[in-house]
């Protein structure tokens, strides 16, 4: 009843092509962003910020990057963790080796380095496809895991191979308190989110989707596969690299290559597939699901156990966590293989017709 576009007339091409053509959507997005900037910092406590919100925001950004590649361009990657690591270590090196390097510049340069590496490791995609490509991207994952452990220059000769960054200074603003870190991540995510949305609406995004749907056909109608695939790798790696740098700088503060292991790559791919391939908003849903669910289960199960009067051991809780997490993933894939984003779209459709279903 409320959610209806009746009476909203578009009088220009601009109005027809805007990101949110329906006024209610527009207002809802503005309201959510405003709430995230103003409301959340007032409500959330330190635990929410540091353990849930900040990881959620950063991993959303990474998932966004992975979704550009996997969801929009159809190239499956299991090497996203490596590109997070490249972003993090490159940004670290720019920050400590160049005097007076601003934080933002270091993060972006980290992203750019990651993009360059993305292009190099994207080259096999020109020959190899599908699951073969997925496994081939693992080469990048294991290679960089090794490189950051072994090549001392990357870690500034730290004897343990662990590096750390502190005193984040964003144009005079010392990003230190959890709420400040949250706002910083949120700001980055909003900017990058709109960037991603616009990229996918532009010619480049359409090229990616053409390649995804049928690469030979796309080639026939004049899309250069090399340009399209490599640009997807570059842009995706840029997003993932910036996310990696933020994961290291803002969330962990001190990290080792294990923070970007192959498990992280799987986690990111999970987010994208659970959230919805080829959907920007799906990346956020996926990230929320994967970040929050294990933590939730871990805390909720003992509470549940107490309610029914049994105390569950820590080991049993974490085993149950694994089982439920895995089962829910399979369940979601069965019920809605197109991800949470499709559920969202379906419910919006229903809302439009409500209260008259037909």
């Amino acid at each position: 009843m409320i959610y209806r576009e009746n009476g909203q007339f578009k009088t220009s091409y601009g109005a027809d092509q805007q990101i949110f053509p329906i006024a209610q959507d527009r207002w809802a997005v503005i309201a959510i962003i405003a709430f995230a900037f103003v409301g959340v910092p007032l409500l959330a406590d330190e635990y929410m910020f540091r353990a849930i919100l900040i990881p959620f925001l950063i991993l959303s950004l990474a998932a966004l990057g992975v979704n550009l590649l996997v969801g929009y361009c159809g190239q499956i990657t299991l090497g996203a963790g490596a590109f997070m690591a490249i972003g993090a270590y490159a940004a670290y090196n720019f920050l400590i080796r160049v005097d007076g390097m601003p934080l933002l510049a270091a993060l972006l340069l980290g992203g750019l380095t990651s993009a360059a590496m993305g292009i190099i490791f994207g080259i096999p995609s020109l020959r190899v496809r599908g699951l073969y490509l997925a496994v081939a991207t693992l080469a990048a994952q294991f290679f960089w895991d090794w490189a950051f452990l072994r090549i001392k220059w990357f870690t500034n000769d730290s004897s343990s191979g662990s590096v750390s960054v502190s005193n984040l200074d964003f144009f005079g603003w010392n990003v230190d308190a959890p709420a400040e870190k949250y706002l910083f991540c949120l700001g980055m995510l909003v900017v990058f989110g709109f960037l991603a949305k616009n990229l996918t609406r532009a010619s480049i995004g359409r090229q990616w989707m053409a390649i995804r749907d049928m690469d030979v056909a796309a080639e026939v109608i004049g899309i250069r596969p090399m340009w399209a695939k490599l640009s997807a790798f570059a842009v995706s790696s840029f997003f993932v690299g910036v996310a990696g740098a933020m994961w290291g700088f803002v969330h962990l503060g001190s990290w080792e290559p294990a923070a970007f292991s192959v498990d992280r790559s799987f986690q990111l791919l999970f987010m994208v597939i659970i959230g919805g391939l080829g959907s920007i908003v799906g990346s956020f849903f996926g990230a929320a699901f994967i970040v929050v669910l294990p933590i939730f289960l871990n805390q909720f199960l003992p509470v549940l156990g107490r309610l029914v009067g049994i105390s569950i051991s820590t080991a049993a809780v974490s085993h149950a966590e694994l089982i439920i997490f895995g089962a829910l993933i399979v369940f979601f894939l069965i019920v809605e293989p197109h991800g949470l984003a499709r559920l969202w779209a379906t419910s919006k459709e229903k809302l439009r017709l409500w209260p008259f279903p037909h």
Partner: protein, 443 residues
Amino acid sequence: MKIRSLALAASLAAIGMTSAVTSTAAFAQAKEQFFPVLVYRTGAYAANGNPWANGYIDYLKLVNANGGVNGVKISFEECEFGYATDRGVECYERLKGKGATVFQPLSTGVTFALTDKAPVDKIPLVTAGYGRSESQDGSVFTWNFPLLGTYWVAADVAIQHIGKQAGGLDKLKGKKIALVYHDSPFGKEPIPMLQERAKMHGFELILLPVAHPGVEQKATWLQIRQNRPDNVLLWGWGVMNSTALKEAQATGFPREKMLGVWWAGAEPDVKDVAAGAKGYQALTLQHSAEPNSKVVKDMLEKVHAKGQGTGAKEEVGSVLYMRGLISSMVAVEGVRKAQERYGKGKVMTGEQVRWGLENLNLDQKTLDAMGFAGVMRPVQTSCLDHMGSSWVRVQTWDGSKWVPGTDWYQADDKLLRGMVLTASRKYAEEKKITPRTPEQCKQ
């Protein structure tokens, strides 16, 4: 379809409840000293994480059975993090909110991640036998306590022991020593010290990294076959240790020539190699397996006999169980010491516990009275020395149990101090920390 969407909606709503759960659970405990326990009872390192955690918790239960710390009861909560750094940080944040006053993550990765957070949150970090070696310098690392020993101590003593076996440190010249290490900050920590010693005595150090989790070591041991080192130092954790011993057996490398760090010298590491690991030696963090010590007997009597034991009875007194127990003990003693200054029978804050840990003074008499006779030697910390003791023994696996050696070693203080100071000053410079002066220390 309707049921499915209902189920979906229900599970989504359940996730939304997280915040509710977390905030309601975070009530403050009054009149109880809260001990957070970061554990890993599942995943790749569970076999080693379990006994440690059981020992840690059992000791807290024992303290409660004995009336608490001057009447203050101890409460505790486990948080499972599966040896993953980001889950460890999440656990830290979660338990911090419940009034934690001392953390022991049992993971070098988590220690690194928390070192920057601890001063902000004013919670001391006890890392008994692991963590960053330079954090021994308490004037820079105010909140870190690598009590009882660091990896540099272990590396130093390992070389001393090998030298002694060879008939003097000067005999090491021209020898080859291979370090088989877990490819992570944990495994890399000893390298600077070993390189320093290699320069001093003129032996050749061969570095052989093993990737996590360490189940594939064929190439490593082929290289050992190729290089024929005189000794092998094993710096592993979890399954990597037993795999290394099995590969040593399969390639015929004498186990007597293998020396493990204290994390490579517990029952889970050798149990299923059994006779194949006979003669294998490992450093101890003072204690070995101590089934006959008084504290273990107390434990069995006051905790396990009442059915309150955390783990299996058979496990009590095993190496990692003892390590957990002792880690727990030093933390409790830190609280006790703090109470001496800030008021007996009161619940201590993180800052007060920090003072207690920094002024810990467990002499042999106190230790004996607590049931640690023959298990431990005195520990005395100070502002400059957050480690408190560097006593190490060497134990040998006889095919069915660990037999502690009689010799006690200590790290070469001059060498160690020099390296610690260089590294900690570098850290202070990077982080723009001004080291505390002796006057500031007294506060």
